[in-house]
Symmetry: C2
Subunit: 326 residues, 2 copies
């Protein structure tokens, strides 16, 4: 009896990575190409195609043994139609990626929101394996979320549930979000919000290390620069991270009160600075979450790291329940 194999594809702005896994999800081979995002849709597709072909060839299996391909992409997506409505990394609009890749490969393709895919990957292969109910949050330039209910991705009525980053956290904030709304969780507590607070500080705290490191140039102020200043004891930088930690705690408490998960997993680039905000995050979570929901809750760091994209896509490929409106 032939074994089933699955391919997960992580289509990033700079590289396309395909990985082939066995029926346990164990990665057997990877194949990487540059994305060449600036060369347009056809070149990107051809780079994806090449990575798929190579990963199959290198694994010395037949194409027919690949049961399904999973693709993770930032949204908005139309999951039912398999269309990437917009992916700013690739400058794509309305690309029917499922249809295109199915035609090229002859293999069934499933598209999923990248944060959802990451959540499922962590649930199947990462730090969330113990949980039936889990929430994954990625805190980087934005805040993305994936909700796992009964070990499945929660899609809601139209496939767009779990938009944790777009929960309004401060209704009267003047921090505008990419979505157009003001005071979204991601507008006030992401790496972008940290950077904005750092830029705002330049005019009032010219004695700070943020000012010194950036030479007063707002364009170079980002979260890592502010983290470096905080680690050297700069009070303004420390304040910015503490405030952000408090707000992260408020947003996570809301998720805990609404979803009552067993595990909350935190990933994303801002976690590199967790020493600067985790204490405030936990204090604020404890203050805001209901006691019964807080009981036995595990707050953990996501584990898959650089492999999140591709392992999430493999987890998606291995599912046969998707699009059943869970």
């Amino acid at each position: 009896m032939s074994k089933d194999y699955y391919i997960g594809i992580d289509i990033g702005g700079t590289k396309v990575l395909s990985a082939l896994a066995d029926s346990e999800g164990k990665i057997i081979n990877k194949a990487q190409n540059p994305t060449e995002a600036d060369k347009g849709e056809d070149v990107i597709i051809s780079n994806i195609e090449d990575s798929i072909e190579r990963v199959i060839e290198n694994s010395k299996i037949g194409k027919k043994e690949v049961k399904r391909i999973g693709v993770g992409s930032p949204g908005p997506l139309d999951l039912n139609k398999g269309v990437i409505i917009e992916n700013s990394n690739l400058a794509w609009t309305n690309v029917p990626i499922v249809e295109i890749l199915e035609e090229i490969t002859g293999i069934e393709v499933i598209l999923e929101n990248d944060a959802n895919a990451a959540a499922l990957g962590e649930n199947q292969f990462g730090a969330g394996q113990a949980a039936d109910h889990m929430v994954y949050l990625t805190i980087s330039t934005g805040i993305g979320g994936g909700i796992i209910i009964n070990r499945k991705i929660f899609h809601g009525g139209k496939g767009n549930a779990g938009e944790v980053g777009h929960m309004t956290l401060i209704p009267d904030s003047d921090y505008q979000c990419g979505c157009g709304n003001y005071g979204c969780f991601e507008a006030v507590a992401s790496g972008t919000a940290i950077a904005r607070r750092g830029r705002e500080s330049l005019t009032v705290h010219q004695d700070s290390l943020i000012y010194e490191y950036s030479e007063g140039n707002p364009d170079v102020v980002d979260a890592p620069l502010i983290a470096a200043a905080a680690r050297e004891g700069d009070q303004e930088a420390i304040r910015i991270f503490k405030l952000t930690g408090q707000l992260l705690g408020v947003g996570i408490a809301n998720v805990v009160n609404l979803f009552d998960p067993e595990i909350i997993l935190l990933g994303g680039g801002v976690m590199h600075a967790q020493d600067l905000f985790m204490q405030e995050l936990k204090a604020s979570l404890k203050e805001r979450a209901l006691k019964p929901n807080l009981k036995d809750l595990q707050l953990k760091e996501a584990k898959l790291g650089k492999d999140t994209g591709v392992k999430g896509a493999i987890a998606v490929a291995m599912c046969d329940y998707l699009y059943q409106n869970q």
Copy 2:
């Protein structure tokens, strides 16, 4: 073949209502008793028992034909153990209601949070029948919520999901919630919040109708009094309802972005004043919710009204999936 029957019990602060329904959920008979909440646990239980016995007798069926009894209660509850941890209407603490009623009746009993039961009732018999994914909100002295996913009550990991009223909406608010936290949805947008704003206005707006109707006595200022003032054109009262409507819209938008429901149902006493805040609620919802989540979303009034408690309890009795960690 004998038909199955179900009993739903609504245990209120003043009356106990039992209703017996057929296997389609159609109510055949009701029996009501005073709760006599002040007379203690034994008397309350005996009033419940009597209402159950009478509703069975009056229906001229045998006790054995009653397949299950559903009980709705405000929380906190321990659903798995069937224990009412606290019910302030009845002055109950740690009452193992399921065990007690099963022993008395010999019939299987299921306990459920009253807002969850109401949500399921609306989904099965009320204004939410068209939806697989639905959120029910009751806006009265507090804000309660019940989340329906795939036509089932969403419980989360420990049975405490859907605590919509305890999502923090204004982190720096000085409006303290019953749960101890500040700025909860229910602390800033319930009937209690409306009343508090009215009381606060007494010292600064002594020319308002709120002041006139209450004769300056904060103890008599409640949401209906402020609504009456608003309907007579009182600017301060109108402002209070508009502000509350805006905040209701923010909270509902958060729910829409997180759960992507097909229908949002609004119930509870504050809805009697919906003419005073619904426009602001809708505007704020539209401003804050993501476009894909807003598309085709139905915002409707709950339909079961006075029967919500008992019909919700019947819907709970008719379920056999509860406690399977959905």
